[in-house]
C-alpha cells in the first residue's frame, strides 16, 4: 500500500512538474535574435567635450558615429581619419563590437529581474509571459548560453504604458521629464475646468504621459503616484 502510495505520489509529482514546465515556461514565439554585430567594421571610441565637438567631427572628418553615450563617441574605424584624429590629440580606444551593439529582445522569465539589472540588462517592459529587455550583444549572449530563451521583438516593439502621474510642483514635473518620460500634457488643478477642480487637491498637477515599465519603476521609487490606464 505504501509502495503504491509512493508510486502514485511520484507520478503525481512528475505530472505536476511536466505540467509546470509546459505552463510556467511557454516557448516564446518569434524570430530568433541575431546576436552578431550589425556591422563587421571595427569600432573606436574617443572622448569629446560636448555634442558640438561630436557634430564637428562628423562634419569635418566624415566620422561615422555608432552612438554617443555621455561624452564618449563610438564610431566606425576608418584608416583615412586615424592620423588626423591623433594629430588633434584624441586618445582612440578600440571597442568590442559585442559590447557596443545592443539589442532589444523578448526574453523568458527564467532569470529574476534583479539579476538581469545587476548584469547590466535594462528591463523595458514586463509582459505576462516574457520581459522586453535591452542589453549589449555580449550580455545577451551570456544569458542565452545560460539557458534563457529569447526572440526578436519583430513587430512587437515595446510601447510605453499610458499613465497619469500626480505631481505636487513644477519641480516635480521637471524631474519627471528628466526621466525621459514622454510627457503629453501638464495640467494644474487651478487650470482645470471648474466642474473638475474638485477632483484635485490644491496645487496638484496632473501629468499625462507615456512611460515604459522601467520608467514607472523610477517614478514610483521617487514617490510619485502613477496610474496606468487599463
Amino acid at each position: 500500500m505504501s509502495e503504491q502510495l509512493a508510486s502514485a505520489k511520484l507520478c503525481a509529482f512528475l505530472f505536476a512538474a511536466l505540467a509546470c514546465m509546459v505552463a510556467c515556461k511557454p516557448a516564446l514565439e518569434g524570430e530568433p535574435v541575431n546576436l552578431e554585430p550589425n556591422d563587421p567594421r571595427p569600432i573606436l571610441s574617443l572622448e569629446v567635450g560636448d555634442s558640438d565637438e561630436a557634430a564637428l567631427l562628423v562634419q569635418e572628418l566624415d566620422l561615422e558615429p555608432v552612438r554617443m553615450e555621455g561624452s564618449t563617441l563610438y564610431f566606425f574605424e576608418n584608416d583615412d581619419q586615424l592620423n588626423r584624429l591623433k594629430e588633434l590629440g584624441y586618445e582612440l580606444r578600440q571597442q568590442n563590437s559585442y559590447e557596443v551593439f545592443r539589442r532589444v529582445v523578448r526574453i523568458d522569465r527564467t532569470v529574476p529581474e534583479e539579476e538581469l539589472r545587476a548584469s547590466g540588462i535594462r528591463v523595458i517592459n514586463r509582459e505576462e509571459n516574457y520581459l522586453v529587455v535591452e542589453g549589449s550583444l555580449a550580455k545577451l549572449r551570456a544569458l542565452e548560453r545560460a539557458g534563457s530563451s529569447m526572440v526578436a521583438v519583430g513587430g512587437h516593439e515595446p510601447r510605453p504604458r499610458q499613465v497619469r502621474i500626480t505631481a505636487e510642483s513644477m519641480d516635480d514635473v521637471a524631474e519627471i521629464g528628466a526621466m525621459a518620460v514622454d510627457i503629453y500634457s501638464v495640467e494644474r488643478a487651478d487650470r482645470a475646468k471648474p466642474d473638475r477642480a474638485e477632483q484635485y487637491r490644491d496645487g496638484e498637477i496632473v501629468v499625462l504621459a507615456g512611460a515604459f515599465d522601467y520608467q514607472i519603476d523610477q517614478l514610483t521609487a521617487a514617490g510619485y503616484s502613477v496610474e496606468v490606464f487599463p
Binding site: V58, V163, D182
Partner: protein, 627 residues
C-alpha cells in the same frame, strides 16, 4: 419685365459674389492622408502659379521627399533682399493637426492675397516657406494599416530591434543632455546617435541655413495648447527673454481672440536638442513652438464621454489610449484649431515684412534688414552709431543728467499708438545684444503715440559715474521699439530695424592712445573672436595685439580641438568668458596735443559649431585725442 428681373437677379449674384468672403478650397472637416497633403500642396501651387511653388528640400530615411511650399511674389525667383519666414510641422508623426496647420496657412495666405492689401504687401516683401511634414516616414507609418497611429519618431532602423529617433531631440544645439532627451533607442524621446544624425533634421537645417534672410520660424506640434519659446534645454531664460516673451504674449492674445482658448507659455520640463533652441541659440532667429489643441480638459471630457470613468467603465477601446487621445482630437476640433492659430502666424509674418516703425543703425541706413553683414573680418557698416540715439548736450559729463533722445521713425503713413520703447545702457562689448541680462534699464515708455514720419522721445539719463567694467568711460545705449503690429524678431541691432545702438564716450574718456576692447561670449557655445580695425586718418596707425592663445597645459582642450577642426584662428572664448584686448593707437609724428581721430573697431564672434557659422557681435567707434 422678365429681362429686368434677370438683370436684377444677375446684379444680385454679382454683388453677393463681391461681398462673399474668400472661400477656402480645402475641406478641413477631417484629416488628410499623407498623399492628400502632397496633392493639395501641388494643387495650391497650380492654382496660384505666380505666388506658390513646391520644392523638395531633402529626403527622409526611407527616401520620401520632404516638401516645402514657397509663397512670394515672383515665386520662381530667389530675391535675396527679401526676408524669409519659415513654418514647419509634423516633426512628430502622430501630431496630425500640425500638418493641417501648414496646409491651412498656405491656403489662407494664397486665397487672401488678392483681397488683403496688408497681406499682399507682406508677401511681396517676403519669402514664406511652409514645410507641412518634416517626418514623412513617420507620418506614413501612422496612417498605414500595418502601422501605429500614435507613433512619434521617424522610422530609422536603430539596428537593435527598435525604430525611430525623436526628430525634436536631434537638433544640434545643446544636443545630448541627459535632461529632456534619452540615449535609449526604444524611448520615445530618443535623441539619435549624434546631433543632426537624421536626414529629416539635417535637411531642414541645411535649407534654413541656405535662406538669405530668415527672420522667424514656427514649428507646430500638438498638444496641450501652449506657445513656447526658447530655451527648451534649460529652465533658465534665454538671451533676449523680454523680446521673445512679448512675442509669445501677443501670440497668445491673438489665439485667445478667435475662439477664447487661452494658450499657456510654460511647459514645465526641459527638452534638449529641440528645434527652437537651435534657431535662437545658433542664429538668434526667433523661433516658437505652438502646441495646438486639445487641452487636458478636452481629454478628460472625451474620456468621460466614452464612459471610461463610468462605474463600471464602458470598456470602450479608446479608454486605454489615456493621454494619447489628445493626438487624435475629433475632426470637429481641426478647423477651430487652425482658425485660432492663423492670426498669430499672420502677425509674425507682418513683423517680418514690416518696415513701419524703425530706427537708423547708421546715418545712411534705409531700414533694410540686415543693415550690416559680417564680411569675414569686419562688419560692412558700423551699425553701433545710430544717428537716432542722441544726447543733449552732446558732450557727456559723468554724473550729469542729460536728455537722451531716441527718434522713432514711422513709415506707415498713419499714426501708431501704444508704441513701447525700452532704452538700456551697458558696457560696450563685442557680441552685445539688446535686451541682455547685463544691461541697465534707463526707461521703458509704453504708450507712445508716433505720428506719420516719426517722433523723438526724450528721457532723462544720468551718465554713469566712474568707469565701465574695464576702466574706461565708454558706454553703449540700446533702444528697442515695439508695437503690437511691429515687433522685433531678434535682439541684434544689425538684423532688426526695431533695435538700434550707439556707443558714447563721456568727457573724461582717457585721451591716451591706448584703448581697451572688451569682448564677451554671450552665446551658450564655444566661439572664436575676430577683431579688426578700420584704417583711421592718413598717418595714424592702430595696432591690434596678436590674439593670445589660451595656455595649453598638455592635451588640447575641447575648444581647441574644435578650433583646429574648423581651422579657426581667432581668440577662443568659452560661454560667458570676457577678454580685454589692449589696442594701441599711434598718431603721426606731426600730430600735436589735441589732434583727434576716430578709431573704429569691429568684433565678430563665430560659434564653434557644425553647419553655417554666423557671426554675432558689433564694434565701437572711439574718438582718440592725442594727449
Amino acid at each position: 419685365m422678365i429681362e429686368r428681373m434677370h438683370i436684377v437677379w444677375l446684379t444680385g449674384i454679382f454683388i453677393a459674389a463681391l461681398a462673399a468672403p474668400v472661400q477656402a478650397a480645402i475641406d478641413f472637416s477631417d484629416y488628410h492622408t499623407p498623399a492628400e497633403i502632397d496633392t493639395l500642396m501641388n494643387d495650391l501651387a497650380a492654382a496660384h502659379p505666380g505666388l506658390a511653388q513646391v520644392s523638395t528640400i531633402g529626403t527622409s530615411h526611407d527616401g520620401n521627399p520632404i516638401k516645402a511650399l514657397k509663397i512670394s511674389d515672383n515665386v520662381a525667383t530667389d530675391e535675396p533682399d527679401e526676408g524669409d519666414v519659415l513654418f514647419v510641422a509634423l516633426h512628430h508623426a502622430r501630431e496630425w493637426v500640425s500638418a493641417e496647420m501648414g496646409l491651412y496657412l498656405a491656403e489662407q495666405i494664397l486665397t487672401q492675397y488678392a483681397s488683403d492689401a496688408d497681406l499682399q504687401a507682406d508677401v511681396d516683401n517676403l519669402e514664406i516657406w511652409i514645410i507641412p511634414v518634416v517626418n514623412p516616414d513617420g507620418y506614413a507609418y501612422t496612417a498605414s494599416p500595418g502601422g501605429y497611429r500614435y507613433w512619434r519618431k521617424n522610422r530609422r532602423d536603430n539596428g537593435d530591434g527598435t525604430f525611430g529617433v525623436d526628430l525634436n531631440r536631434n537638433w544640434g544645439y545643446e544636443w545630448g543632455l541627459a535632461s529632456g532627451s534619452s540615449g535609449t533607442t526604444s524611448d520615445d524621446v530618443y535623441r539619435g546617435p549624434a546631433p543632426f544624425s537624421e536626414p529629416e533634421v539635417a535637411a531642414v537645417r541645411t535649407f534654413a541655413e541656405g535662406l538669405d534672410n530668415l527672420k522667424t520660424m514656427l514649428t507646430y506640434h500638438t498638444f496641450s495648447e501652449l506657445f513656447l519659446r526658447p530655451w527648451g534645454y534649460t529652465t533658465a531664460d534665454a538671451p533676449g527673454e523680454e523680446t521673445l516673451r512679448q512675442l509669445v504674449l501677443r501670440s497668445i492674445s491673438e489665439i485667445q481672440a478667435v475662439h477664447g482658448h487661452t494658450y499657456s507659455e510654460v511647459i514645465g520640463y526641459t527638452s534638449s536638442g529641440e528645434t527652437t533652441d537651435w534657431f535662437w541659440g545658433a542664429h538668434r532667429i526667433s523661433a516658437f513652438t505652438p502646441e495646438l489643441r486639445p487641452d487636458y480638459a478636452w481629454i478628460a471630457d472625451r474620456l468621460d464621454d466614452l464612459g471610461c470613468n463610468d462605474s463600471p467603465p464602458s470598456g470602450h477601446p479608446d479608454c486605454a489610449l489615456g493621454g494619447l487621445i489628445g493626438f487624435s482630437p475629433t475632426p470637429d476640433q481641426i478647423l477651430p484649431t487652425l482658425e485660432e492659430n492663423y492670426p498669430a502666424a499672420r502677425a509674425l509674418i507682418h513683423d517680418a515684412g514690416d518696415r513701419e516703425l524703425w530706427m537708423k543703425d547708421y546715418p545712411a541706413d534705409t531700414g533694410d534688414e540686415p543693415s550690416a553683414v559680417w564680411t569675414g573680418t569686419s562688419w560692412s557698416h558700423a551699425f553701433w552709431v545710430s544717428p537716432d540715439i542722441t544726447t543733449v548736450p552732446v558732450t557727456l559729463d559723468q554724473g550729469a543728467t542729460v536728455d537722451l533722445n531716441v527718434h522713432i521713425r514711422n513709415n506707415s503713413g498713419q499714426a501708431r499708438n501704444g508704441v513701447r520703447l525700452d532704452i538700456y545702457f551697458t558696457d560696450p562689448r563685442i557680441s552685445l545684444e539688446f535686451p541682455n541680462p547685463d544691461a541697465t534699464l534707463i526707461a521703458s515708455e509704453t504708450s507712445i503715440n508716433v505720428p506719420p514720419g516719426g517722433r523723438t522721445v526724450t528721457v532723462p539719463w544720468t551718465v554713469p559715474v566712474g568707469t565701465n567694467s574695464w576702466g574706461e568711460r565708454h558706454w553703449c545705449v540700446g533702444a528697442i521699439v515695439m508695437h503690437e503690429d511691429d515687433m522685433p524678431l531678434t535682439t541684434e541691432a544689425q538684423r532688426s530695424s526695431n533695435v538700434a545702438i550707439r556707443n558714447f564716450n563721456t568727457t573724461e574718456t582717457v585721451v591716451s592712445t591706448n584703448l581697451i576692447v572688451a569682448a564677451t561670449n554671450f552665446l551658450d557655445v564655444d566661439a572664436e573672436l575676430i577683431v579688426s580695425v578700420d584704417d583711421p586718418l592718413p598717418g595714424w596707425q592702430v595696432v591690434v595685439p596678436p590674439v593670445p592663445k589660451p595656455v595649453n597645459g598638455g592635451r588640447a582642450s575641447s575648444i581647441e580641438r574644435k578650433a583646429q577642426l574648423l581651422d579657426a584662428r581667432g581668440r577662443l572664448l568659452r560661454p560667458g568668458e570676457t577678454i580685454y584686448l589692449p589696442v594701441r593707437v599711434v598718431p603721426p609724428d606731426t600730430a600735436t596735443a589735441g589732434d583727434k581721430a576716430a578709431v573704429t573697431v569691429h568684433g565678430g564672434l563665430l560659434p564653434l559649431v557644425a553647419g553655417e557659422r554666423e557671426a554675432v557681435g558689433n564694434g565701437f567707434t572711439y574718438e582718440v585725442v592725442v594727449p
